[in-house]
């Protein structure tokens, strides 16, 4: 018994040291400020205490589906051409259904050929159904669509992560936001002025080169009239920035071929630099091998024609193709600043977003508010803890010291654990700590009340302690399980700050199970072992 007690005491002291280390690490000194600094290094604060920005954004995944079907429209057209089938219109009939492609004007005598072309190359991704009047409808398979959307979300997270890192925001978090579908949560600690970061995240930075079919026209109306009131299915009208075709030109409209020669995913590298002649900032981009070959083929076959460099659906530059271009180009003019050249080349390097995004939620907490909150939280914790500890001392006298020691160890383990696992302390998390104090001492009350009852029924002190712990145990397990179940549900359904609450409450109660059941018992045994058999205990 005596030896066992020693081992247990050593174990408790070891736990104490380990978790104190979790809170402070090895501080540089023992002065107040050195301890404070050590504490700040080990306990991670949530955004609501540290200050920062929390964003929820929606990835418009339907666009990724649309882009896939767009490129399949082009592919089907060239497949049909290669098989000598002409006159078929391949288009997407309903803008609200990005997953549907329709073939109309199919020559009746080529129906079997078309069927075999479609079925051989597209049946793995589309449900292909023939319709009336020689039409064919391709509807993207559900699984294909889901895969596309998921990969768009994954890609968006990857791109946004790279962009934020490119801006040098440290400790940022970019992850799927589980409460919504195809949403992303972005946390930017220390950023309380999120404007620029938001712009950088949001810019699709979709750089493409298109063949110019006609134009320019001064405005959209004129353009529509010029092309006969309707945009052909394989073309699109795009506005340019001022100065796109030559120095001093205004914003104009162009009719471009819809399918680009190369697009956002084809860029290998991009660097900011300066124009050799004017010394204006510019961005130089380089294409991947495959896209470079495609570009060379296209340019050599279209010498004398115009091509447009399009960034985020605005024509940036229109140039006449003078010769074969391989894999590089510049974006210049249009009042590019040094900062813009730097940001844009970073954006091009990280690649285009697979779909545009929309901000759904934005919350910003300034660091001053966090400092206030921490201060108030600490005051409330100390007040609550002092009230509880004083009450326990008055009500249970000797055993009150026991409970108070257990309570302090409980808090040390809780904070040390937070330090070890790097869990974030949020403002509701501080409330969780305070609640742990109140709920933690409940276990001691349960045990002590039971011991008193056993003493009243005439049991000896050591038997009463033994029975008290034994009987209270079931109840303590119950109370811990019910609260931890609640906290677990909170963690699953909650967002940042609330999750912080769930975490501190859960850790706190788990630690409490150890301190109230094991540590308290050891302290009782230690004090009993120093007494004569049957000598009363202070409770």
């Amino acid at each position: 018994m005596q030896k066992n007690l020693k081992a247990k005491t050593v174990a408790i002291i070891a736990v104490l040291i380990i978790f104190v280390f979790g809170i402070f690490g090895i501080p540089k000194g023992v002065s107040g400020s050195a301890l404070k600094q050590a504490l700040a290094q080990h306990i991670n604060l949530g955004l609501d205490l540290k200050g920062g920005t929390h964003l929820v954004l929606q990835v418009m995944v339907d666009e990724a589906v649309g882009a896939a079907t767009d490129s399949d429209v082009g592919a089907i057209q060239s497949d049909l051409q290669q098989n000598g089938i002409s006159g078929v219109t391949v288009a997407k009939p309903d803008p609200n259904k990005p997953d549907v492609i329709q073939l109309t004007n199919v020559p009746a005598d080529r129906a079997t050929d078309i069927s075999s072309v479609l079925n051989s190359r597209y049946s793995s991704r589309y449900d292909i159904t023939p319709g009336v009047n020689n039409t064919w409808t391709l509807t993207m398979k559900n699984q294909t669509e889901l895969d596309l959307k998921q990969s768009a979300l994954d890609k968006a997270i990857e791109v946004i992560n790279q962009r934020i890192n490119g801006l040098g925001v440290s400790e940022s978090v970019v992850e799927p936001y589980q409460l919504g579908s195809y949403q992303i949560l972005v946390e930017l600690p220390g950023i309380d002025d999120p404007g620029r970061v938001k712009d950088v995240i949001q810019s699709t930075a979709r750089l493409e080169t298109h063949e110019v079919m006609a134009g320019p026209w001064p405005d959209q109306q004129t353009a529509m009239q010029a092309i006969g009131g309707m945009v052909p299915p394989d073309a699109e009208l795009v506005q340019s920035i001022a100065g796109a075709s030559n120095e001093g030109s205004t914003a104009e409209w162009y009719e471009l071929k819809k399918v680009p020669v190369w697009g956002g995913t084809d860029i290998r590298d991009a660097q900011p630099g300066h124009d050799q002649n004017t010394n204006e900032p510019q961005v130089t981009f380089y294409l991947t091998n495959a896209a470079g070959q495609k570009f060379a083929q296209f340019t050599s076959a279209n010498i004398g024609k115009q091509m447009a460099i399009v960034l985020d659906n605005r024509v940036r530059e229109v140039a006449v193709i003078k010769g074969e271009i391989h894999d590089t180009g510049d974006i210049s003019g249009g009042g590019i600043t040094e900062q813009y050249a730097k940001d844009l080349s970073m954006l091009l390097r990280t690649g285009a977003l697979p779909a545009s995004i929309r901000y759904l939620q934005e919350s910003t907490v300034g660091p001053s508010l966090g400092a206030d909150s921490i201060h108030q939280g600490v005051v409330a914790s100390i007040a609550g803890m002092a009230a509880v500890m004083i009450f326990m001392l008055i009500y249970y006298r000797g055993a009150g010291i026991n409970a108070d020691l257990a309570l302090i160890l409980n808090l040390v383990i809780l904070l040390g654990f937070m330090g070890f696992v790097g869990a974030r302390l949020t403002l509701p998390g501080i409330a969780g700590v305070i609640l742990t104090i109140g709920m933690g001492v409940d276990s001691n009350v349960l045990i002590f009340e039971r011991i008193r009852e056993e003493l009243r029924s005439g049991k000896s002190p050591s038997a009463a302690v033994d029975q008290g712990f034994k009987h209270a145990l079931t109840t303590i397990i119950d109370t811990h399980v019910t609260t931890v179940v609640s906290a677990a549900i909170l963690f699953l359904f909650g967002t940042g700050p609330v999750q912080g609450f769930a975490v501190t409450l859960t850790f706190g109660l788990l630690a409490n199970f150890f301190t109230s059941v094991f540590v308290s018992r050891v302290i009782f045994d230690a004090s009993l072992s120093r007494k004569l058999h049957g000598e009363p205990i202070s409770i």
Binding site: M385, G438, E453, S486
Partner: protein, 402 residues
């Protein structure tokens, strides 16, 4: 010291009073929920824009309201936040004034309106840097451009000015200053003299500081509402299953009814006092679901223990005795938790107020309900079974000893 020694209170004899008490509060809450304040929702659930601003001097709410109105934002709600001495104001815009296309437009308009109308000095500060609202990054960039220490464009300069910006921020944002500088000169001693001179020439203090901004689009608000309701239901269900597994179904049902009663009255209290329900309030309510279960379990445990020992005693007497035996610990544990929650309510700050309010109400009601609702339900169930001519005995534990 002992509070309750050998009490013999006839709890079940007072069940009609309890029922009346619970009904009054539940119905008052329900009436308010349906006909009066409804359920006031926080911006997280409701959607919209809330900007929290601290002023150096006592703010004129009417002036802010009319200025924000003039800037084109309809029906802004301007309310004092916390104690009047804090000079803090919430500017709230409805969801209708918060477009998902440009989410932070409302915030930008509010900030520029305040800058125009509420700066301590008006026109002469045009184009100058507002030290009360500049961000760390913004200030570092500004200093780098001004380059008061003539360091040129080097990495060392960038690091130096970032460090100077940090010094300004840590002075301004300390708990003592809460984001507002008395004057630019207050930074003397905190930053390099050359930097201070540059700041005195090119910067000013506006006398207000945007402490936080919360902008929530319609979609996220709806998502969160759904999640909050689901979470509450799941946790009630979780409790039911746990109690079913630990005791018998009727114990679980009684405890969950008591819990639902607690939740209803707590939510009703939010409606009656027109306090906004936020995400943290939901967290508090879920915690209460777990916590109020504790007292109930303790009483049930004792009832079951006593049922095993004396099967002949009338159930009502046995339940009374069980409640009285555990009364001391029920009151003590709830009282101690209540103490900590009360300190949170009193000292924890304005942000946590709704959260601690929910806990204060919930702990009181939760303790009451385990005595006044859950235990009598067991007796009522037995009476109901007896009335239908079935065996009267309440099911005891599945196992002889747990």
């Amino acid at each position: 010291m002992e509070l309750f020694h050998d009490v013999k209170i006839d709890w079940l004899g007072k069940k009609w009073y309890f029922l009346g008490f619970s009904l009054i509060f539940s119905i008052a809450g329900l009436l308010s929920l349906f006909f009066w304040h409804h359920l006031p929702l926080d911006v997280d659930f409701r959607g919209g824009t809330v900007v929290r601003v601290k002023f150096a001097d006592k703010p004129n709410l009417d002036l802010i309201r009319s200025a924000v109105n003039k800037a084109g934002l309809k029906d802004p709600r301007i309310t004092q936040f916390g104690a009047a001495a804090n000079n803090e104001v919430l500017v709230t815009l409805s969801l209708g004034q918060t477009s998902e296309a440009s989410l932070d437009q409302g915030r930008a308009v509010i900030e520029s309106t305040l800058t125009r109308n509420y700066s301590q000095a008006g026109a002469q500060n045009q184009g100058k840097l507002d030290l009360d609202n500049v961000s760390r990054g913004g200030l570092a960039t500004w200093l780098e451009q001004k380059d008061p220490e003539h360091l040129g464009v080097t990495d060392a300069a960038t690091a130096r000015y970032q460090q100077q910006a940090d010094a300004v921020m840590s002075y301004r944002d300390s708990a003592e200053h809460s984001g507002i500088l008395d004057s630019v000169d207050a930074l003397r001693g905190s930053v390099d003299p050359a930097v201070l001179t540059a700041l005195e020439q090119g910067a000013y203090v506006s006398g207000f500081h945007v402490q936080s901004a919360e902008i929530v689009g319609a979609q996220v608000g709806k998502q969160l509402q759904k999640q909050a309701i689901l979470a509450t239901l799941y946790s009630l269900l979780g409790m039911l299953i746990y109690l079913w597994f630990r005791f018998e179904l009727i114990y679980g049902v009684a405890a969950v009814v008591a819990c639902f009663h607690d939740t209803l009255i707590t939510v009703g209290a939010f409606s009656l006092t027109n306090t906004e329900v936020s995400l943290t309030v939901i967290a508090a309510i879920l915690t209460l679901v777990g916590y109020s279960m504790n007292d109930t379990i303790v009483v049930f445990d004792r009832i079951r223990e006593n049922l095993r020992l004396s099967r002949r005693e009338p159930l009502a007497d046995l339940v009374n005795r069980s409640i009285n035996q555990t009364l001391s610990r029920t009151v003590l544990t709830s009282g101690l938790t209540f103490l900590t929650v009360l300190s949170l309510f009193l000292f924890g700050g304005e942000v946590l107020h709704p959260f601690s309010f929910a806990l204060v109400i919930g702990i009181l009601i939760g303790t009451y309900s385990s005595i006044a609702i859950a235990a009598p339900m067991l007796v009522a169930y037995q009476d109901w079974r007896a009335g239908r001519g079935k065996t009267a005995a309440l099911p005891a534990a599945k196992k002889a000893k747990v």
